[in-house]
């Protein structure tokens, strides 16, 4: 009898505790009553955000949005792999945990095909004037669209750039030594051969100086960095419906890529993700890297950079006969297809608020990335960030499709991430790695 009493008592305590928790949760959802004028008072949205430089300020934007509308947008900052997996599972299972999510532009094909995010076209058309449609650089619209649907709204535009140590490139002694060794002037490289010469010249391992660095970690990191070089050689993973990753151009790209890790990069680069690569540059170990423009402001922040005031930014070099490449990437923001009508409408209001001209300008001063002409041409911002004209140039000539934004992109990236890593670690030869990658990719279709 005592045992039974004990069990009953335990259950009561359990239910009371659970009830209390639910009651607390309910209070959170309902929030406190406030001014009558706020249209979305008490509403809560959840936003999955990629842990990039721009992420922290989104919390500030969220607070401003709450003050203006009453709706709270809870920001969940996640790493690249974690974000991809979490939102994909959320979308695929229809659980609608996140109303909003940052969308890498390479996911647009998959998201459209699977119906993961809402088509924003009707909203954009309705509010075209309010969002000042033409102020957003056209390539940004293209990157968030697929099959005539706008599945992600432009949020943060990135230009792929060659980042280099301007102070060393302008150093008189270095210039003289380079000319004596290679027979031409040291300047930002136009060709990949010049890039190789400069990388070799600045690699002085006994001084912990490394000429060129790339991501080497197996997975998305190494896959995406290798694709930059593939583009520079004029290679493509898929061309006219055929798998062409084992082409001569891709082979040349992989050979150069292997050489980066063998000869010019810090010893640990084979395990580098984006943040490791940036750290290698900011700590003065690496002299050059191909990187996204979102990281550019960070080089001037003396709290995290030892190379403040010493960085130059240029268009990445290409192989002879290959057009100058203006690689463009970045992040859009999508609304979960399973979000309720009401939440989706609030999410749309938040997107407009977050990407408005005024907010974008503030955001730029806090590690944001531009999407608008008005931001890129803003005199105040240009005074602070003289490199914005380079980014504008890249955007106006930009190519966001050198990484295939097709629905199968994630599987392709997985394959490339493994095979390229096997090549740089010499588990496979360049030919073996590309042949295996081609075979694996063909098996997807």
């Amino acid at each position: 009898m005592n045992i039974r009493k004990g069990l009953v008592l335990s259950l009561l305590v359990l239910f009371a505790g659970t009830g209390f928790l639910f009651a607390s949760g309910g209070q959170e959802e309902q929030a406190a009553p406030a001014a009558e004028s706020l249209p979305y008072e008490g509403k809560v949205l959840h936003f999955a955000v990629m842990a990039d430089q721009y992420a922290d300020y989104i919390k500030e934007i969220s607070s401003e949005f709450q003050a203006a509308t009453g709706a709270e947008v809870k920001v969940d900052i996640l790493g690249y792999v974690e974000l991809s997996q979490k939102i994909t599972q959320d979308y695929a299972t229809g659980s609608a945990d996140y109303d909003l999510a940052t969308v890498d532009i390479v996911w647009t094909g998959q998201f459209e095909q699977e119906g993961y995010t809402k088509d924003l076209s009707a909203w954009i058309e309705r509010d075209k004037e309010e969002i000042d449609y033409d102020d957003i650089v056209p390539v940004m619209w293209v990157m968030g669209g697929w099959n005539g649907k706008q599945i992600a709204y432009p949020m943060s535009g990135y230009a792929n750039s060659l980042i280099y140590r301007k102070d060393l490139f302008e150093d008189v002694d270095e210039k003289a030594a380079f000319k004596a060794e290679y027979g031409y002037e040291l300047s930002t490289p136009d060709t990949l051969d010049q890039l190789a010469d400069i990388a070799a010249f600045f690699t002085r391992k006994d001084e912990s100086m490394y000429g060129l660095v790339s991501n080497g970690a197996r997975g998305s990191a190494v896959a995406q960095d290798w694709m930059e070089y593939m583009r520079a050689f004029g290679g493509q993973i898929i061309q006219d419906g055929e798998v062409t990753i084992d082409s001569a151009e891709c082979k040349a790209a992989l050979e150069l890529f292997v050489q980066i890790f063998d000869d010019w990069a810090p010893s640990g680069a084979i395990g580098y993700w984006w943040d490791d690569r940036e750290t290698a540059y900011r700590t003065g170990q690496a002299m050059m890297q191909q990187s996204w423009s979102i990281a550019r402001s960070g080089y001037e922040n003396e709290e995290i950079s030892l190379v403040a005031g010493k960085t130059g930014m240029a268009i990445p070099p290409t192989a002879p006969g290959v057009d100058v490449g203006y690689g463009v990437g970045g992040w859009g923001v999508g609304i979960n297809a399973d979000s309720s009508e009401e939440n989706a409408e609030i999410a749309w209001e938040f997107i407009k608020f977050m990407t408005s001209k005024e907010v974008m300008k503030d955001w730029m001063m806090n590690d944001g990335a531009p999407i608008r002409y008005s931001t890129l041409k803003d005199p105040d911002l240009n005074a602070e960030m003289p490199w914005l004209s380079n980014i504008l140039n890249s955007f106006e000539n930009g190519d966001g499709d050198y990484r295939p934004r097709i629905p199968e992109y994630n599987e392709i990236q997985d394959i490339v991430g493994l095979r390229v890593n096997q090549a740089i670690t010499h588990e496979l030869t360049v030919d073996e790695a590309l042949a295996a990658a081609a075979e694996d990719i063909k098996a997807i279709f």
Binding site: A92, G94, E114, R218, S267, G268, E411, D414, T425, E427
Partner: protein
């Protein structure tokens, strides 16, 4: 009188059954259901969020020819064998040292458990920073001692698996110590006294008396650790992500990639069923030894 006793017995029995209800429900919901569901979806071509098509044994046929999965199974076996063997040797040695009753040993016994308290994820992050090829303390001192670690412990193919085995040994040897220490403490004193009277030395005592008497405990410790090591995922995921190349891609990591990156949950379920079979075989081998005459 008899009836009263019978009634009392039934009441006790009922009470005992009440106590068993929570664990039975727990096992049904959190163990049996997932296993059965996993077996079920292993027969389907199922992509997460997509439609399911019954494909019979196709996933298992594909598994038999899946070079990446088979290689990951071999890597898993190497990991299990090396990690558990070293843990057993170290565990036995340390348990022997701690097998005396004094204050110092009691304190040491408490401290030695610290690595086991770390969640593998945190342990992995700590070791990843120690192993960092450019800035890690371990890499620095190994190079300072003139040891050739190439580009770094976790970025060289021939060193990466060894590096994660070391982490596993660091984390789980204490568990082995505790199990074996309990075994050592339960051993009878008489055989030792008799052997010493007969002039047996320390080595003879260890191999002729301690090891045979400790055999059941050793087998249980090996069984627990082997099955646990077979499931390894987190420390490898955090430290190497399965690389460089495929050098640390264990079976669970491959299954995770297929299920979570490629969203091929039907095939991933079949792969995990394959790993389950391997686990059952390993378990049965140990159980056979434990219940054998010698055991």
């Amino acid at each position: 009188m008899y009836l009263f006793q019978q009634k009392s017995f039934d009441k006790k029995k009922r009470t005992l059954i009440y106590f068993l209800v929570p664990i039975t429900v727990y096992m049904l919901v959190f163990f049996l259901y997932p296993v059965l569901y996993n077996l079920f979806i292993g027969f389907f071509d199922l992509k997460l969020g997509g439609t399911a098509e019954f494909v019979g044994l196709d996933n298992y046929r594909k598994m038999a020819g899946d070079e990446q999965f088979l290689n990951s199974l071999i890597t898993t076996m190497v990991f299990v064998f090396c990690a558990v063997s070293v843990e057993l040797i170290f565990g036995l040695a340390i348990a022997g040292l701690l097998n005396s009753e004094n204050k110092k040993m009691e304190i040491l016994r408490t401290f030695i458990l610290i690595p086991t308290v770390f969640t593998p994820l945190v342990a992995g992050l700590v070791w990843k920073s120690l192993y960092h090829p450019d800035m890690g303390m371990v890499s620095y001192y190994l190079r300072a001692l003139g040891i050739n670690i190439g580009r770094g412990l976790i970025v060289e193919r021939h060193l990466a698996l060894l590096s994660v085995i070391i982490v596993d040994v660091w984390e789980w040897t204490p568990l082995m110590v505790i199990i074996l220490l309990a075994g050592l403490k339960s051993l009878p004193k008489n055989p030792y006294e008799a052997a010493m009277i007969d002039g047996a030395g320390a080595v003879q005592l260890f191999f002729r008396i301690t090891v045979p008497l400790l055999k059941p405990t050793l087998l249980v410790a090996l069984l627990i650790r082997s099955l646990d090591a077979l499931k390894v995922f987190d420390i490898i995921w955090v430290i190497t992500g399965g690389g460089p190349g495929t050098s640390t891609t264990v079976a669970n990591l491959r299954i995770y990639e297929v299920g979570m990156n490629q969203l091929q949950v039907g095939y991933a379920a079949a792969l995990s069923n394959g790993l389950l079979v391997v686990g059952i075989i390993v378990g049965l081998i140990f159980v056979k030894f434990i219940y054998s005459k010698e055991g």
